[in-house]
Subunit: 425 residues, 2 copies
């Protein structure tokens, strides 16, 4: 950690203090600061009220030499942060022509005309330094008082975090100095272990050390395991990082989806590419979720042919060729149906692999033999067809998500020659 | 809002300020307070450090006459909240025999013996009033200084919220008095207007009044418009609410998806049910997202037959029956293809309605004529088939989400006889 830098996080918005939204900006900012080695003293939130924002700034800048502020830079009457920062400094706000032009350019790029209210977003405190926004309309800005600094960002996470990382923190290093240590962070994606189980397995290697910190961030259905490593120079930081990665990989070789934050859908698409395979899905319980996941990956169309979302039994029969006998005798939620769906998907898409999932997401439709949370996955290749049964009860969308995740993980494991999970026929 | 009660929320824990966990206690406490009509001034979080907790209490109790504190009441060394509250009051902590007995009883009930460290949880500031914990081990407590009050609760949500609701707030009403007003809230889902445009349209009716507050909560791709209304009695609160709802509905009749927070997928499923229709989708650009959305709704299987996610042109031809000529002459992203996909979906699912979407999500695949962000929606019924063109450029997943939303919204509009958006052939 840097000795001379302490930070406070201030988020602004009536919807935050009234509990209308979950304010994830606080934790995201905290993680960015931590991985830059900055010590955090605390965080606070106030509503969109000028006097409250000014008071909160006084309080935060009294406690820490760097304050990160988010929210309240929008175009509406509600948004009072820039005006409040100006009052805090005893200054007016002024129109920043360059930032106004950037906002206009952004609207032009979108093929729209700027609404007059957006001009307000270019009104910044007189002595502030603008922080251009490459991801949206509202620019951020930096202010200084008594050698203490505050950086202001819009509250939209996809704008805030890159702006903080790529423009805000470099500005901090320039202005405040700070540690010259080298920091590295990586996120290992873990699937198939509960947080407490993972904590037990890694307990002896997850203790805080001066040069390494491990954080468990459950993000259903995976756990993001964040490694923050540091060293006196690049070589040392990289060595600390790779030692920790090795330790984790050795403990949970089957459960590491990726070591650089890559989500499972991208791991699966890369696996298809590497093995020269193409994939077609047959989805019932997941309703299209697996296709949606795979098509998040740019260029997925080279390996992903499509998905037959056969919610009705008629579609299972007519499009996937599941036999009347199978549905009549074993039901649509069965090993037999999962296998026929996987074969049918492979044929329908003319692909080398077919992957299917059928099950009961609830709340209705369960039976004593096949309760809500039961699902079957089928996997068909040119050589063979297999199926697996799972029982992971929970709320409807929880079951849907896990069914999609298990199916993609089954495919991932098959690429790597790992043990397949689930119960056989 | 109650005139004489203002609150501050303080949560304590190193894992909170370092962003290791998502602290949902803040928003849950806020909602409890709001629904009791208590005005919230702000919230803050500090780590498990005595001096920080004492400072944070000074700050919070200086701003509000009620402070709700959570976290740091556990049995370990790390947990410093009770000790810090005692320091704040200039008092020692004392063992509370009754609370110790309750902790022992709870362990006995679980069939375990109490760990000696748990005795620490019965050490409370001398002048505090204990708040018994019926859900776990750590008791809460209330303190008072200069006629301002703070309530302390454990940070475990399943203990905190019932303790706050059933013991904490009744204590507040007894000690502080407070309003007997009645409160109502509703969330209107708005689609198809930017936040700034919506703000302009509603500017004169969105000003704060004593008995009504309107909050704009963008949750891409919709805006959640939250109405908080109050009155001296139920009738008055309901009247204020329905007046505001009427005003909003009159201003933006086409853009209100629902007035009670119902998401578009459920509105569409209800629309199908009400019109005795069944639906099959043909998805290309959305990759399965529309099917995933509709199947979030319990019971969707009655009206939703399925979706053909035809990512490859071969699937468009083979499964949906799009003609070779159409794809050769007009391309897969065209009015013609969208219409043939919609018809093909209707046939494939044997349903009364077919809805299709085909387009270019990017980052590659665009052309000068059909740049990234171009998509076409087709709608086929027993009577007719139509198609619409849209151009909404942006990042890949942004385009996918908007394409799904536009298609579901087109169907919703067709049910209601509203103007259809997009460009015709």
């Amino acid at each position: 950690m840097s000795d001379n830098l302490s930070a406070w996080i201030l988020t602004i918005g009536n919807e935050i203090i009234n509990g209308v939204i979950t304010d994830t900006n606080r934790e995201n900012i905290a993680r960015e600061l931590r991985s830059a080695g900055i010590f955090i003293r605390g965080m606070s939130s106030v509503g969109d009220v000028e006097t409250e924002i000014v008071e909160a700034l006084e309080c935060a800048m009294g406690k820490a030499n760097l304050t990160i502020v988010s929210g309240g830079l929008g175009p509406t009457e509600d948004d009072k942060t820039a005006q409040s920062a100006a009052v805090f400094l005893g200054q007016p706000v002024e129109l920043n022509e360059e930032q106004l032009r950037r906002i206009q350019d952004r609207f032009a790029k979108w093929g729209r005309t700027m609404s007059p209210s957006n001009a307000k977003q270019a009104m910044l405190p007189k002595s502030s330094i603008p922080i251009p926004n490459d991801y949206g309309t509202a620019p951020g800005f930096a202010i200084e008082r008594s050698n203490k600094h505050a950086l202001f960002f819009p509250g939209i996470p996809s704008e805030l975090i890159p702006m903080l990382r790529h423009q805000g923190l470099p500005l901090v290093w320039t202005r405040l100095g700070g540690s010259r240590k080298v920091f590295r962070n990586k996120t290992v994606i873990v699937y198939g272990l509960s947080e407490s189980r993972l904590g037990e397995i890694l307990s002896d290697i997850s203790k805080d050390a001066d040069n390494c910190h491990l954080a468990f961030l459950p993000r259903f259905p995976v756990i993001r395991l964040r490694i923050d490593a540091s060293g006196e120079n690049e070589g040392e930081a990289n060595r600390v990082m790779s030692e920790k990665q090795d330790q984790i990989r050795q403990r949970i070789p089957e459960n590491v989806i990726s070591e650089d934050g890559t989500p499972i859908e991208e791991v699966v698409i890369r696996g298809l590419e590497d093995n020269n395979l193409t994939l077609t899905l047959a989805e019932s319980i997941t309703g299209g979720l697996m296709g949606e996941m795979l098509t998040r990956v740019p260029g997925a169309s080279t390996t992903f042919m499509g998905s037959i979302v056969s919610y009705s039994n008629e579609m299972k029969k007519n499009i996937l060729g599941v036999s009347f006998e199978t549905i009549g005798r074993w039901g649509a939620v069965s090993h037999e149906c999962a296998r026929e769906m996987a074969v049918g998907a492979r044929m329908a898409g003319g692909s080398s692999v077919g992957l299917s999932v059928t099950g009961i997401a609830g709340p209705d439709g369960g039976s004593p033999e096949k309760p809500v949370g039961t699902f079957y996955i089928g996997l068909s290749t040119e050589d063979a067809v297999i199926s697996r049964r799972y029982f992971l009860p929970g709320a409807r969308n929880w079951v849907k998500t896990l069914a999609a995740m298990q199916a993609l993980d089954l495919l991932r494991r098959s690429f790597l020659g790992l043990r397949l999970h689930g119960d056989s026929d």
